[in-house]
């Protein structure tokens, strides 16, 4: 609803095309282009540490966007997103190691493979009314985790697997500075794709399914098709994100893709804003920076009475998990539309300043 207050009086649309542009105004488009241009300069003045965080935000942001399409736009829950993320990582490494497929091609192929696996688990549940997908993906999480540690041919078993660096025309993107650009390109492409999806017939169908499945069905929307499609897209995004993760670290271990990681993905989109494309990225940034902030707080508190009482240094891992859970609850109770909504309100405030009411 904050969206409506942003439109100044007298500014009305006369064509549907004008109503579904990606950028509402020229200024916003220019700002977006400027933002990407500024990001291009990042490796020049950021140190390794910050670049690493940015790259993390990038590949996790892609996977989070996939989850947001499923949860925020279609209204289904997935609790196995990390497993699909991991499957993408392993399949990309497997494709490039076993078949010599160039990494640039292996990444989208990994996305397709992950979609296939997602469908395997998702189809029975996506066809049911209600939140059965949550339970099916929970099963998928554990089955896939078990599969990772079992399938030596695919994941290298408990030893993990090596992934080739991303190479294009003989140039290897194997440093933080160069890989930043790879992730940036993927983020821009995947986010534009998602934005485009949401202003197409299919995207509106997804939202209709979320808002009222019965009305959607009466309007001629094939529920089975769109639910399954949404889950497929979400798995695809998870696969792409995972593949980027694999080729960034150049090593994939079987241990990382736990249910806690899946819940972190859910946290990202809840914090960012369910049903908001850019919110996914904001939420991811929040979630990636959360441990850093907590680390900073712990360091600041070290030596004080609080530190002595709680033994913060050893508790930091648990405190981090607690913070994830707490942040999810607090956002859902107090700010269910997430950071994206907050951001809109800030923009509206300045746009209407000083007469904000």
């Amino acid at each position: 609803m904050a969206n409506i207050s942003l439109i100044p009086s007298g500014d009305f649309k006369t064509r549907y095309a004008a109503d579904t542009t990606i950028f509402p105004t020229k200024t916003s488009r220019n700002f977006a282009i400027l933002g990407v241009a500024l990001l291009l300069l990042c490796p020049a003045f950021m140190d390794r540490y910050w670049l690493n965080l940015c790259i993390q935000i990038g590949y996790l942001g892609i996977a989070a966007l996939g989850l947001n399409i499923l949860v925020g736009f279609t209204g289904q829950i997935s609790i196995g997103h990390a497993a699909f993320f991991g499957f993408g990582a392993f399949s990309s490494a497997w494709l490039s190691n076993s078949f010599g497929i160039p990494v640039a091609l292996a990444i989208p192929l990994a996305g397709v493979m992950t979609t296939g696996v997602g469908m395997l688990f998702g189809i029975p549940a996506a066809r049911l009314k209600g939140l059965y997908l949550a339970i099916a993906t929970l099963a998928a999480q554990y089955i896939l985790q078990d599969f990772f540690s079992r399938a030596d041919w695919f994941t290298g078993g408990t030893a993990g697997t090596i992934a080739e660096p991303f190479t294009l025309f003989g140039y290897a993107f194997d440093t933080d500075e160069s890989f930043f650009y790879v992730v940036l390109v993927y983020v821009v492409v995947m986010y534009i794709l998602a934005t485009n999806l949401m202003r197409s017939r299919d995207g509106r169908a997804l939202v209709a399914v979320r808002d009222h499945y019965l009305s959607a069905e009466i309007m001629g929307i094939n529920l089975t098709k769109y639910r399954t499609m949404s889950f497929g897209i979400s798995s695809f995004y998870a696969g792409i994100g995972g593949a980027l993760y694999a080729h960034y670290l150049q090593f994939v271990s079987v241990e990382g893709f736990t249910i806690l990681f899946s819940i972190q993905f859910l946290g990202m989109i809840i914090i960012g804003g369910l049903g908001s494309i850019m919110g996914s990225l904001m939420g991811t940034a929040f979630m990636v920076l959360l441990p850093e902030v907590m680390q900073a707080i712990t360091t600041a508190l070290s030596g004080t009475a609080i530190d002595a009482a709680l033994n913060l240094r050893e508790a930091i891992a648990f405190l981090r998990e607690m913070a994830i859970g707490l942040v999810i609850i607090l956002f859902l109770v107090f700010e269910p539309d997430g950071l994206a909504h907050r951001w809109k309100q800030i923009k509206a405030y300045w746009k209407l300043y000083p007469f904000s009411h």
Binding site: I77, F121, P124, L128, K129, I135, M322, G325, L332
Partner: protein
Amino acid sequence: MTLFFQLLVNGLIVGALYGVVAMSFVLIYKASRIVNFAQGEFLLIGAWTCWWLLTSWQLPFWIGFPITLAFMLVFGIVLQVVVLRPMIGEPIISVIMVTIGLSIFFQALMKWMFGVFAKPFPTIFASPTVNILGLDVQTVYVMSLVISLLIMAGFGWFFKYSRMGLAMRATAFDQQVAQSLGISVRHMFAMSWAISAMVSAVAGVTVGVVNGVSSALSFFGIKVFPAVILGGLDSVAGAVLGGLIVGVLENLAHYLDSQWLNWGNMYEIAPFYVLIVILMIKPYGLFGTKDIERV
């Protein structure tokens, strides 16, 4: 063959506990349509509370255990009033994600307060094993089976004859009708969480006495899903049967695995394969209402 029967008995005993937890899960689902992902944490909190009372305060079991139950009753009510009541009216999907948040929060909190390693309960029963039909069964196992059966019977009585149980069933059937009959729906929601927390805590303490208390207890909350899907998401009897089947099934899978397959880890994973298969062929489970439509 002895191993087979031993595993079968183990399966029945563990399955009965699954059934108890599944029942308390279904209680919340029936009352408020919330899929509670924090069910396992109820076990965890209950078990740790009881453990703490018994070791730190040196209370005898028969005092510590009722205090634990009272605490869980209050805990369930407070949780519902503070966290879940503000969520009434929000989309059900948000409420479910709140329970996911609760689950991870309490799991980490318990790890922080009590550590990550399993801690044994003080001994409660002296004789370690009894002989039943030629099988050595630990006394605690027998006790857990008895407790499970008692809880199930208690549930049966509660919903059939007690005033509150009837009110709860009415609420589950139709909230508006229940309200017009003078039932406080808010009260029923809070009570369903409280009873669910309390009953889960009994299961948690029982498992804790048998295996020691650790964060692994919360995995019971995950294992509940295969059980309730198998039995039908909104059927209390189905939950019990589903729990028993899942308990036996995972032990059979373990037997199969250790004898012939040697895949490892089947004990943990087999129920989830079953879950997927059930969703595919009989999504409303054995006893669930069949109004779940395919779309």
